[in-house]
Amino acid sequence: VVRLVKNEFIPLAINGRLRDFDDDESRFLNKADCGGQGRVDVITASGKLVAHGELQVGNPKTHLASLERALKAWAALPEAERKPGAVKVPERGPLDPRRNTAKGPPAGTLIVRVYNRQLERTATGEYRHTVPEDYIPALRDPRVVGTDQATPLWTQPANDSLWITQAEARAMMPADPVPGQRVEVPTSLCERIFRFHLDPSRGLSENTNFAHVTADAGKLWLTVEEVGKTEVRLRLDGIANLHNPRSALLTYQSPGVKEHSQNPRIPLDYDPRLLGYLAYNPAKKVITRLDIVALGDVRGRPNGENIVGERLGEANPLGIAFELVTDPRPADYLPPRAARDEPSLRPGVNLVERYLGLPKKEQQR
């Protein structure tokens, strides 16, 4: 599937909510009948729908077959739709100002990929990927969830990105490092990580469980390990104690939860330990490596409002990996989940400003 996509298509990933605005992009997507939730569509550059793809998470053959059908339909189109250079794409008009989308991070910002993955322990205490049988029975029952593809989704990692400001990065590169020296991770970065990047809901919901916490919800610190002329290496250690009382659930729980959940616990807790490695070039003052792993048990359903991703047992491991992006691709410039524009959900709130804590003039490059 991946090879076919790379060779035969121009792959484009977009937010389906673009259809809700009033600009050329919205009109193009609506006219092409492209942009329904959770779809893969094949269209021409002019906007003609070629085929709807089929998403079968646990069944790549079905997905492959749908792409092959789309290619046959594409081949049957007149050359005016297919020939290189035949379609002239007009200039794009102004975007709907309500989109207010950050095109990328402020200059000098580090981009860090973040992967959340639910894990399970083996009988010998090692960690492994989850399997469908690790989830509550309702999630494996197509009569309840309408698909047999639900649990395979959650055995996979979810993805997000973390932005680290230039000032924060500089604060983690001491001017005269000495082995054993302790370097505090900036408070603003600690707070951002605790609030938005250690969340058991990532990959399962748009919820942000710990947006209320402050930097004292944990500690992150660096220790200089090696000092060289071209590279200084530090180890990162840390812990977080993250808690969401979810008190709204005391008065309301959805019918789906009442009927199918096996976890009566209302609060959500995640207390991960963190270990990581940072390296920088002392002459250039550039961070060249930042890898962090967080690991801890989640207590409580990962989603309060529903049973999505609910596991068997009272405490389930969640691993989160952070990895510095050194060669960013277009997708890496997408804002982190917590800084993404959602005017329909949070009108008037500048999420980038909230996420980074920067004055407006510094928000976008």
């Binding site: 792959p11 909510r17 942009g35 990959g203 748009e206 277009p330």
Partner: protein
């Protein structure tokens, strides 16, 4: 490995069937912390839970395996993608999420 990201359709179906609650969440986010468990004051003694030996193994376990949809250079600008498709004479494969599919949640 099957695409890690190709999960939106099933996810949305699940969400719709199991009932959403973003508005319930809005209230949670404002809840003050209220817990009796130990806080981060003892962090330095308890942070010893992860070893350097575990690090590489865990990192590999958490990240997606190479060769999946993460290896595709997804474009994110509709107009730029249209221009590229027109110039190359290729169809657009448009992956759409409720929110952005590359990090929807």
């Amino acid at each position: 490995m099957f695409p890690i990201k190709m999960r939106i359709a099933a996810r949305m179906l699940v969400l719709s069937l199991l009932l959403g609650g973003v508005f319930v969440y809005q209230a949670w986010a404002m809840d003050p912390p209220n817990r009796s468990e130990p806080r981060a004051d003892d962090a330095e003694t308890s942070a010893a839970g992860l070893s350097a030996e575990q690090f590489d193994k865990l990192r590999a376990l958490i990240k997606p395996k190479p060769g999946g949809f993460d290896d595709i250079d997804w474009m994110t600008d509709l107009w730029e993608a249209r221009k590229k498709a027109a110039a190359a004479g290729k169809p657009l494969l448009v992956w759409v999420g409720d929110g952005h599919p590359l990090g929807w949640t």
